[in-house]
Amino acid sequence: MDDLLSEFLTETSESLSTLDVALVNLEQNPNDPQILGNIFRLVHTIKGTCGFLGLPRLEHVAHAGENVLGKFRDGELEVTPTAVTLILQSIDRIKLILGHLEQNECEPEGSDEDLIAQLNAMADGRPDGSPPPPPPPPMPTFESVAESARAAAPPPPPPPPPPEPEMEMEDDPVPVAPAPVAQQSAVVLTGAAVVTGAPLEAKESAVAAQTIRVNVELLENLMTLVSELVLTRNQLLQMVRGKDDSEFATPLQRLSHITTDLQEGVMKTRMQPIGNAWAKLPRIVRDLSVEMNKKIDLQMLGADTELDRQVLELIKDPLTHMVRNSADHGLEPTDERKRIGKPEVGKVVLNAYHEGGHIIIEISDDGRGLNLDRIKQKAVQNGIATESELETLTPQQIYQFIFKAGFSTAEKVTSVSGRGVGMDVVRTNIEKIGGTVELKSVPGKGSSFIIKIPLTLAIVSALIVECASERFAIPQISVLELVRVTANSEHGIEMINSAPVLRLRDRLLPLVSLKRQLLLSEDTEERQETFIVVTQVGTYTFGIIVDRVFDTEEIVVKPVAPILRHIAMFSGNTILGDGSVIMILDPNGIAGATGESGLLGGAQATDTQATRESHADAKTSLLVFRAGGEDLKAVPLALVARLEEIEVTDIEHSHGKPMVQYRGHLMPLVSIDGSMSFREEGRQPVLVFSDQEHTMGLVVDEIVDIVEDRLRVELSAGSAGIIGTAVIAGKATTIIDAGYYLPQAFGDWFGRNDKEFGNTDFHAPRVLLVDDSPFFRNLLTPLLSVAGYEVISVESADKALILREQGNEFDAIISDIEMPGMSGFEFAVAVRSDARWGAIPMVALSSHATEKDFERGRQVGFNDYIAKFDRDALIQTLASTIAASKGAA
């Protein structure tokens, strides 16, 4: 039988038995509003559910009954025994129909006109059983009252129902007699209904008895007990293991089977279809589609997939949030969809299914996909990563940033989403229950989230491994495969700059030594073999090096003591079959402690530094080093992505140019004087510069220090690659032009490979540089200052306008176009619309340099428009625009 229907039958027969009692009470206390209210509510519920399930006959009867009850409740009708009888009759009729429903899953044929007529008559104040509509003839009122009294009286006299006597009278054994019912006159029919109601009572309780309501807490307790039972069973099995002839073997096996069955059984009691968690979604999506004026089609597949109710509760909110996100951020507005040739109606698909002990829930939309640039901007803005770090990441890795706290890329905060509390909470919630979220996004095609959660929280299967004589459990959910590495196996563990990797089917798998991560003592003896547990966390796959691998075991996860919660490496602990306690490793934590989030380590520092440098007058962090000579050299630290030491033996040559394999890419090495001489042995310090997809290593002899000082280039040098000389920390230091070395490694690093720049002859004109990228601010500030400008740099148009409010004056403004918040175009409009800065020449800097952009730039008030990487043109244009504006003034 349909689940919904059987649930309805159970529920309704429960309500009906309550109703019987309530009605009898009502008759005794006709004016108790509480009882009336109860009855009304029950009938109303029945009516509502019938309408929902498409049971018109039931619905009509219930509706008519409800009308009468409504009048009772409002005091328009007096509660009389006759009236109660009539209500009871309609309830019996409902039972009759229900009985038929239970057997045949459909409503019986026939009509309830008669009963409904009587009820309607009652509701209209005509206490008359006869057909209602024909308007009552002038004076029959009195007579009809008598008649109705007679009509109602015969079946059960004033005190309520007991239908038993009639049973004998009409001994038709067929419980449901639809055909005669339909044709008989009102009075007779009422009797029949009452009669058939009685035998039905026994039947309907059959369904009612099949389900009972149990307190959830009781189920939880049962689950805990079963968990303990499983543990004890495991313990016993462990004891008997290896003793084939044990007399316990057989009973224990039986115990084991029963325990497993019991465990499954109890788990089933806690299972609920995931559709329960989705119930609210259609409404939310509908409201959203109205509010946002989008056409959204929400498809829900696999709603009957069952999972543990505890898990269900925990994922309800994340799911709602994600669907809302997809509908709100993911899908484009209808007109935009039309414009780009997508079907008008956006699709959000929820799909749930089982896969090997886990539930997979996919939430996908066919919208615009995640906005990579926005995420990058936001990541830089929030100090989660620096730009140069971003350049080394793949789009998939960058997408993961949306799971960081305080991250919302919605341009506007709508009432539904975009408040910056979101995906991080989603991820935390899902990880809390041992699940994982994966994210895939294709620009223009849509994005999808894949949630993988264990069926139940209490018992998970885990792989037991050993490392430095300690055992640990790794949840099976994250384990992809096991690789055994021996001294003579084809591929051993290889090292890249002391980072272990493994070649696994044409792919380099980064490895993590559990020993090192957990700071376990290294055992000195050479191992014959080691094992690598290939683990997946989100989209990141890595291998955990362990000493030994045991079997998998069903473990009961217990939370660790509060004083240990801060250790991210563990997600819990458990007791094994042999009674020992072991820690459960958290692959997320291990991944977090190594490469994957390692790039976030210095984020805070670079962020504060970026703001500090936003005022040119403030100090700049400079990296001081020696290269190609004894004199000190320096570059702005912000330009340096990383400092690395490269094993000299790792340096390879290709086309006669030195390079190293670095983070999965080739990184060319450049030396400051072109000599390309490296150390003989050991490690070679290298400054790593990164931009866009390029990474370059500048070979230096020695890294001396990082100092913070005012960067004021006093002598500009004639030689290429040097900006000039400045006094740094009291010593004359050569400031290196990183921009010169980058193109040596890659011709296309900058638009032009020209190292000359025009020196202009002004007495320190003040230039305001507006660019959101710290990279360019740091690159251009020394460049401009050596060209004789006093540079004030800010990271946003808003900040620039604040300077205006403070009364700052400039000779020129250089502004980026693509900036978060106010764009360069908007900024230009704002500048031009105010008298204070209205006349200052403005130069636009942009990586988009098409005719159209030029045109737009001029329209909004830029005097000139320069491609971002064209340093030469910048200097020259700046000089000429300033000269022009001076001349004009």
């Binding site: 801060h566 250790i567 490496m569 020992s580 306690v581 820690m583």
Partner: protein
């Protein structure tokens, strides 16, 4: 949510006790310590303990006490003393703190003493800072002094991280 707060039991260790209070006594390096008898769940002999990597030094590991996981704390290290010599076997007192079980590892566990409030004194100001933090006060016994340990503070690792 699961912060270690000196739970309700703490009050019983406070000086409020009217006449006498019962303490489980234990020894570390010959020094007598006491904790209120009602906080104690179990007294254990040497146990098989699983080390927990990355845990604070004072956390000796965890052990299985009749199906419950108990975190073992080395009270010696907590008090700034040396680790017990390998060859000497210790004992532990299991206490319940906020629903979690902790086993306090000491040298040995003595008898339960009923001590009159009149013999109680606040910590002498000269007491080692470290000890003062974990000690509620001192009882003057006939032949020695008993330091009343503040179990809540002993298990509160958030303060010195």
């Amino acid at each position: 949510m699961n912060q270690i707060v000196p739970a309700g039991k703490r009050t019983s260790t406070e000086l409020a006790a009217p006449e006498t209070q019962d303490f489980v006594t234990m020894f570390i390096e010959g020094q007598l310590f006491g904790i209120p008898v009602l906080t104690v769940q179990d007294v254990l002999g040497p146990q098989k303990i699983t080390r927990i990597p990355l845990a604070p030094r004072e956390v000796a590991g965890s052990l299985n006490l009749r199906g419950r996981i108990v975190t073992a704390i080395d009270v010696r290290l907590r008090l700034g003393l040396k680790k017990r010599a390998e060859d000497k076997k210790g004992m532990s007192v299991v206490v319940d703190m906020g629903g979690e079980l902790y086993s306090l590892m000491v040298d040995s566990v003595g008898e339960v003493l009923s001590l009159p409030a009149a013999k109680f004194e606040r910590n002498p100001p000269t007491l080692d800072l470290h000890w003062r933090e974990f000690s509620i006060g001192i009882y003057r016994l006939e032949d020695k002094l008993l330091v009343v340990l503040d179990v809540g503070k002993l298990l509160d690792f958030t303060r010195n991280e």
